[in-house]
């Protein structure tokens, strides 16, 4: 636990500000706010390397600063590494890489991983402000401190920074601004079209271009984060399998036989179907790494999720609760979810079923309009039910003939025919996907705006998945059937309930995952992005909307 959270229990309304965060705030006020107030963090190659360089500094022998200078032994040399100090007057805390000096005159030295920038002042403002704040803390602790040194590890150069009046004034100004922003709880706006954004580790959380675009339509968003993920889901559905950990590798065993291996770094979540055993070592490691583990029944019913400590971003959850208790704001969001769902259902029908009469598409358009105008939640539910019936009555026209699959209407618990079994599994997978995405972003998945919070259902996940049911779920089912990846023999029927065989399920998961990995052109932002990433971007945009940054939640509809 760091100093900031440690002393927060005191009478102070804002905890002491770490000067490291002051550096981030100077670089970009929004970045500083996201990191300090909201506790957001994400690693990039730069941050990993920075930590590695600092560990080397910190590992060298630590020494306390002794200020009892013996009177007659001449000047005492100070050379202390990794010194933690605070100033109550300024409300600042710092961990100073190195403090050098003699007697009472000291110089803070801050290690930087890169090369010295070749600019007139010899260093960028954020580093100078951070160093100056360290100097001010040292002064408040009784030292004399007139300048500091930035040490650039890559070029092994020392750049002195004099704490003159202008730098001190600027530092104090930034401290005040940052504390004010934290007190008021208002996230600073993103930088506009800034060259700082592409290298920023938090760019996929901040969404600078997307937020600016949705506010003013000014600049076309740049593709600032990868269009696909490096880590991907790992499914274990082999009944009786055990999951063990060996170093950084997960091993799936059946008795003493190794079924498969997976590197933890490449796993985004572990999905377990039915009777699969997991060791405590695996659970601890997954929690530590922030990899969620989800449980589904053999038939795909989504039971629950294990994940590490809750996300730190309390502010986001506060906005969520506030909106969920506001009936009119909830209704506005609910209308958008339903409207977008009907729009996507209509598009899917239009594209995949040539036999659908024009008036059915018109009726669905009418449903969209009615959903957008629904005066109450009950009306909206009614509109949704009607349009779902309309849509599913034409669903079978999207399935290729001669595959032996019939579909009349949607049924579940349990599904009574193969197509319904596939749909149920697809929706369960989507609910799981949304639940873990929402948890990772910092939401409470159990409190929604449209779906009511009961029976432990992840209501918010169900809300957000509405528009993705046709896009991902139905589409995967249609692909699996029309491409003959799933056939009649992949199902078993017991007492009128139809379920997939393990082979069929495994094949359907592959189709579903292929759909999730598919890269598409974002309908609003214009860049290429995979569906998997779309979910995260949508969740973050919802957060931006709830915080009042963007006027409307931009639902995801394809053309």
């Amino acid at each position: 636990m760091d100093a900031a959270t440690d002393s927060a229990a005191g009478a102070e309304e804002v905890p002491p500000l770490p000067v490291r965060m002051l550096n981030e705030y100077t670089y970009c006020p929004r970045l500083g706010y996201l990191m300090w107030v909201q506790g957001e963090f994400m690693d990039s190659a730069d941050t990993v390397d920075g930590r590695f360089q600092h560990r080397r500094v910190d590992q060298e022998k630590k020494r306390r600063i002794s200020r009892r200078a013996p009177v007659d032994d001449g000047p005492v040399t100070i050379h202390a590494r990794s010194v933690s100090l605070a100033s109550d007057r300024l409300g600042l805390v710092a961990k100073i890489d190195l403090v050098e000096g003699e007697c009472n005159r000291v110089t803070p030295v801050d290690y930087k991983r890169g090369k010295r920038p070749h600019i007139p002042k010899g260093a960028w403002e954020p580093e100078m402000v951070q160093l100056c704040a360290q100097g001010l803390i040292l002064r408040d602790n009784g030292f004399e401190c007139g300048e500091g040194v930035l040490y650039f590890a890559a070029s092994r150069e020392r750049v002195p920074v004099v704490f003159d009046g202008a730098l001190i004034a600027r530092t104090l100004e930034l401290v005040d601004l940052m504390r004010k922003a934290a007190r008021e709880g208002v996230v600073p706006p993103p930088l506009v079209d800034s060259p700082k954004c592409p290298r920023c580790a938090l760019v996929s959380i901040c969404l600078p271009d997307e937020v600016t675009f949705l506010q003013s339509q000014a600049h076309e968003p740049r593709p600032l984060f990868p269009s696909r993920d490096d880590a991907l889901p790992f499914y274990v559905q082999h009944q009786g399998a055990r999951v063990r950990k060996d170093g950084d590798v997960l091993k799936i065993m059946e008795r003493d036989e190794l079924l498969a291996e997976g590197r933890l770094r490449e796993i985004s979540q572990l999905v377990l179907f039915g009777g699969v055993q997991v060791s405590t070592g695996v659970i601890q490691e997954l929690c530590k790494r922030g990899i969620p583990m989800t449980y589904l029944s053999g038939g795909g019913w989504f039971y629950g999720v294990t994940h590490g400590m809750s996300h730190k971003n309390v502010e986001l959850r506060r906005h969520q609760y506030r909106t969920a208790t506001d009936a009119s704001r909830s209704l506005v969001l609910a209308r958008r979810f339903v409207q977008a769902k009907i729009a996507n259902c209509r598009t899917l029908l239009r594209r995949n079923a040539s036999t659908v009469p024009e008036d059915v598409l018109d009726d669905l358009k009418g449903d969209m309009r009615r959903a957008g105008e629904a005066p109450t939640m009950e009306t909206l539910l009614g509109v949704e039910g009607n349009s779902a019936q309309r849509y599913f009555s034409w669903f079978s026209s999207m399935l290729a003939n001669g595959m032996g699959f019939a579909f009349e209407h949607r049924n579940r618990r349990p599904p009574k025919d193969p197509v319904n079994a596939l749909l149920s599994l697809a929706y369960a997978m989507l609910a799981r996907e949304w639940t873990t995405t929402l948890l990772a972003v910092g939401f409470d998945p159990y409190l929604g705006f449209y779906h009511q919070p009961r029976y432990g259902r992840p209501a918010l996940a169900l809300d957000l998945m509405e528009e993705f049911r046709p896009l991902i779920g139905d589409s995967a089912v249609i692909t699996a059937i029309n491409n003959e990846e799933i056939r009649r023999r992949d199902f078993i029927e017991t007492l009128g309930a139809v379920a997939l065989t393990p082979v069929g399920r495994s094949r359907f998961i592959e189709v579903y995952e292929r759909r999730m990995s598919q890269e598409i052109t974002h309908p609003v932002f214009g860049y290429t992005i995979s569906y998997r990433r779309v979910l995260e971007v949508q969740a973050r945009l919802l957060g931006r909307h709830l915080a009042g940054e963007i006027p409307e939640y931009p639902s995801f509809t394809t053309r």
Partner: protein
């Protein structure tokens, strides 16, 4: 941007050798004795370097990292084997 790397090492103590081996297992496929093939984004490459840096003895051991270039949207063509085939795991969602 993901790149493909061949990582090879000579480690003089068995204890450190085992630690290097275990660490490398988390990053890539063990091709043959003291040779790993890794498909890594830049961040993980930095992580790997930092970890190896900590494990090895800088006067007695050596590690070599060969960058075979970007892998995004490309299949691996630069590897040819004679004799026992080399197994390279395909990246993607796994279903067991």
């Amino acid at each position: 941007m993901r790149h493909l790397y061949v990582v090879t090492y000579d480690i003089s103590s068995p204890k450190r050798w085992r630690r290097v081996f275990r660490t490398m297992r988390g990053f890539g496929d063990h091709l043959q004795l003291s040779v790993f093939l890794c498909d890594l984004p830049l961040m993980e490459r930095v992580q790997m370097q930092a970890l190896l840096h900590e494990i090895i003895h800088h006067e007695e051991d050596k590690v070599m990292i060969v960058d075979l270039g970007p892998t995004e949207g490309r299949t691996i063509q630069s590897i040819e084997t004679i004799g026992i085939p080399v197994e390279i795991t395909k990246r993607g969602p796994q279903v067991v």
